[in-house]
Symmetry: C2
Subunit: 295 residues, 2 copies
């Protein structure tokens, strides 16, 4: 049981954690904070949190656990604001999508309390955002990755793990580098690829005519291009090394496909498409595996 | 009412048309043909067609309308096989995904009966294939594009249009070039992009670990990478000009995004992502528009 949880950033991610812990009866009081007064009011009105703090220092005061569920672009300044007010028993975790950047910021701001900081990333979300998008079931059967570093206190790590397990998540540990590479591959690069295609089509003269004929395959492929542009700018800027490395490889392999099309080398295309289909079917279409990837 | 419809290729596309016309009471008899004997037997056993012909000439004999629902790679040889047996009242249409190639083949094989050929493309499908995947509702509220050429007989065009309308489809006319460009943009290129990403990840050492953390966004983005490799090889080889032109533009714009990430130019990224989101939301998330893109 958590006595007092402070959620900094009461949008989809923070708000859903609050609703889920409250529903599970695992928290006595959730206090929320958001930079935008309208967001604060909305979170309170919707019952997403038990109370709202008017400033961030008030929010973390007496909290047992503080979760930073702010956009990646606001992570460092948020840490800077709370660092002078951290107490020895307070556990801090976060929900940022790029752990290398978060850990660098934590080392800078939390130097005196680094063991109390547990870097984390719930792999869940929708293309919607804000307190109104929050719902208690968001984390059920989803994966949460924690990336403890050498300094991380084991007890703090365990408490954050239990918090996520209490809302139905499967919690895994990974190194910071492994996390950032895996997320670039399965989330960040796919988003960029989808954004790039829709942006390209949107600039064509006949965009409405073209999109008029877009069918279900395109709709699913491009769903992630409806995601929040600011959030994705932040992710691109903060996980840039892993993303750029994969994009370079992607372009090279795409050039090989173009070459095969140009030279009418059907066998090369079959190889590529077959290998992709097998890997994708193994992950998502195997009826013997539970598909926990709904979102 | 169609007296006798011959479906060459009784898979998802041909089989679903048969089931839909029968359900709508718009056809007296559907005769099917497939190159593979097991497919023929399956189509008959499942009641997808009324009867099965053991050879293609038998299949088209006395048919009022013949639809070529074979893979793009088999289109030309199928036309060559039926051409000597076409009669003056027989209407031929097709369901091929690349109309330039189909029209070139038709001009070669159907020179004496070109007016009776109506090039068509139902924009519907799933990642499944074969007679067992067929279902009567596949075309309901979906788009079918016809690309009549100068020689196309108006009466034949009208009859094919009415056939598709009878199964609930919205029928549009387009030029061959416009069709191939639009389909490359909204279907062919997205498939290649998804195949390429999953193939790239599948070749990594840690493919299972990577895909283990793939969430819903990746699942939707990559769903089309579960599509039939042979079909997509054929599409790439037959609509190569439109596809290569778009892929070149895609790579160029992706390089600009990489440049922006490398130079930490957040404003450039916001522009791209915002324009994509707006175009995508306008097409798919506008509650005032009916979304007919299911499947």
């Amino acid at each position: 049981m958590i006595d007092r949880l402070a959620i900094i950033g009461v949008g989809l991610i923070g708000g859903s954690l609050s609703l889920a812990l409250k529903k599970a009866g695992k928290v006595k009081h959730v206090v929320g904070y958001a930079r935008n007064p309208a967001t604060r009011q909305q979170a309170l009105d919707l019952g997403v949190v038990d109370s709202i703090a008017e400033d961030i220092v008030e929010a973390i005061t007496d909290a047992d656990i503080v979760i930073l569920a702010v956009p990646m672009g606001a992570m460092s300044e948020t840490m800077a604001a709370i660092a002078p007010h951290m107490t020895d028993n307070m556990i801090i975790t976060d929900a940022g999508s790029a752990k290398g950047q978060v850990v660098r910021a934590a080392k800078q701001h939390f130097a005196d309390h680094l063991g109390q900081f547990v870097p984390g990333h719930p792999i869940a979300g929708t293309e919607r955002s804000g307190p109104a998008a929050a719902f208690a079931e968001l984390y059920q059967d989803h994966r949460v990755v924690l990336t403890p570093i050498a300094e991380t206190d084991q007890d703090a790590h365990q408490k954050v793990k239990e918090m996520w397990q209490a809302v139905g998540a499967q919690v895994f540990d990974m190194s910071v580098a492994q996390h950032d590479k895996v997320l670039a591959a399965t989330s960040h690069v796919p988003h960029i690829l989808a954004f790039n295609l829709v942006n390209m089509l949107a600039q064509g003269e006949d965009v409405d005519a073209v999109l008029h004929y877009a069918a279900g395959g395109f709709r699913d492929f491009s769903r992630i291009a409806s995601s929040d542009p600011v959030m994705w700018r932040d992710i691109c800027l903060t996980n840039s090394d892993a993303i750029l490395s994969l994009l370079a490889e992607y372009q090279q392999q795409l050039t090989e496909i173009e070459q095969a099309i140009r030279q009418q080398e059907g066998d090369v295309l079959i190889d590529v498409f077959q290998r992709a289909k097998q890997a994708r079917d193994k992950r998502f279409n195997d009826p013997t595996l539970i598909d926990n990837s709904e979102v």
